[in-house]
């Protein structure tokens, strides 16, 4: 018997061939990884790896599939930080908007 379970819980599901192409990690991805290492370390203990996973598992199925690995991570880290009151959703949005303007202004 199988019942509804998380979309991430995919052991045994049918799937196509394994795409063996590899990509070099971009700096932004390494920074997201480092962020989790720091946020979960003994000095801070702000987000644990179980909370990170839970955040990723909460993503809707279509988003989970569409997002890349570290996109899922930063979405989960952000949701956790907001949930815990470390950052405010509005200040994040404002900063993203500001960064986008800077990014688009670049030649």
């Amino acid at each position: 018997m199988t019942r509804d379970h998380g979309h991430h819980d995919m052991g045994g599901q049918p799937a196509g061939p394994v795409d063996q192409a590899e990509h070099l990690y971009a700096l932004w991805e390494k920074r997201v990884d480092a962020l989790l290492v720091l946020l979960s370390d003994k000095k801070r203990r702000i987000i644990g790896v179980d909370e990170l996973r839970r955040g990723i598992e909460s993503l809707p199925a279509d988003a989970y599939e569409r997002m890349s690995y570290y996109e899922r991570w930063i979405a989960s880290i952000t949701a956790n930080l907001v949930e815990k009151g470390v950052l405010d959703q509005d200040e994040i949005d404002a900063r993203v908007a500001g960064l986008r303007v800077r990014d688009e202004a670049r030649p």
């Binding site: 052991g11 394994v18 971009a26 390494k30 290492v37 720091l38 880290i77 907001v82 470390v86 990014d103």
Partner: protein
């Protein structure tokens, strides 16, 4: 601006943004990082050192462990009995996870997967390859391991047990591949050259002794 609940609605907002621009999450990462630095939660220096440490880790670390195990039967015994303690002898720190080392033999071929996410022995192998984290690998390895192995060019005899380890909890796994023929008396350094990342995950065998590298 509409009221927003924390968490759930943010996920939707984030996902809507993603439709508009592929770079949204990269910008989000920058925004969160900058804000945390400004608030003194993390420092740029700590981030730099963390990335530097991450960049130093790679399969060469795991290969050293395997080469030592092939060369030193007493070390191999300690490695199998308590992987965490054994790799600490080589200066590798596994905490807070624990290391489980599984050895390929003529009777058993081991394959590692994390079906639920992508748990991987990063302290020994560095960051995992994309395919290890993919839907196809995570879903098929537990159900049709031989078919997955065949895609990697690895064919295991029927009489050999293919044993798949699903890394669901606090252990991280390293496979000690079979020592290739014709390597008696080889130095540990030369042996380490034969140990590939893929052989330590279990999708491949170690390199043969006289193949071009």
């Amino acid at each position: 601006m509409s009221d927003r609940h924390h968490g759930h609605d943010h996920d939707h907002a984030a996902i809507e943004h993603a439709e508009a621009s592929a770079g949204y999450y990269e910008l989000l990462g920058s925004a969160v990082r900058e804000l945390l630095i400004e608030k003194g939660v993390i420092t740029a220096e700590e981030e730099r050192r963390t990335i530097e440490a991450m960049d130093k880790r790679g399969p060469h670390l795991g290969a050293r462990v395997v080469a030592r195990a092939w060369s030193d039967p007493a070390f191999k015994k300690r490695l199998i009995a308590d992987g965490t303690a054994a790799v600490e002898e080589l200066g590798i720190e596994m905490a807070p996870t624990k290391l489980k080392v599984v050895e390929n033999t003529p009777e058993v071929h081991n394959l590692i997967v994390c079906t639920l996410c992508s748990c991987y022995p990063r302290m020994l192998l560095g960051l995992p390859p994309d395919w290890y984290k993919s839907r196809a690998y995570r879903s098929r390895s537990v159900r049709e391991p031989r078919s997955v192995l065949a895609e990697f060019g690895t064919d295991i005899l029927d009489k050999v047990e293919v044993r798949v380890h699903d890394s669901t909890a606090d252990l991280r796994y390293l496979v000690v591949p079979l020592r290739p023929e014709g390597t008696d008396g080889m130095s540990e350094a030369k042996l380490a050259d034969l140990v590939t990342r893929d052989s330590m995950i279990g999708v491949a065998l170690a390199r043969p002794a006289h193949a071009p590298t």
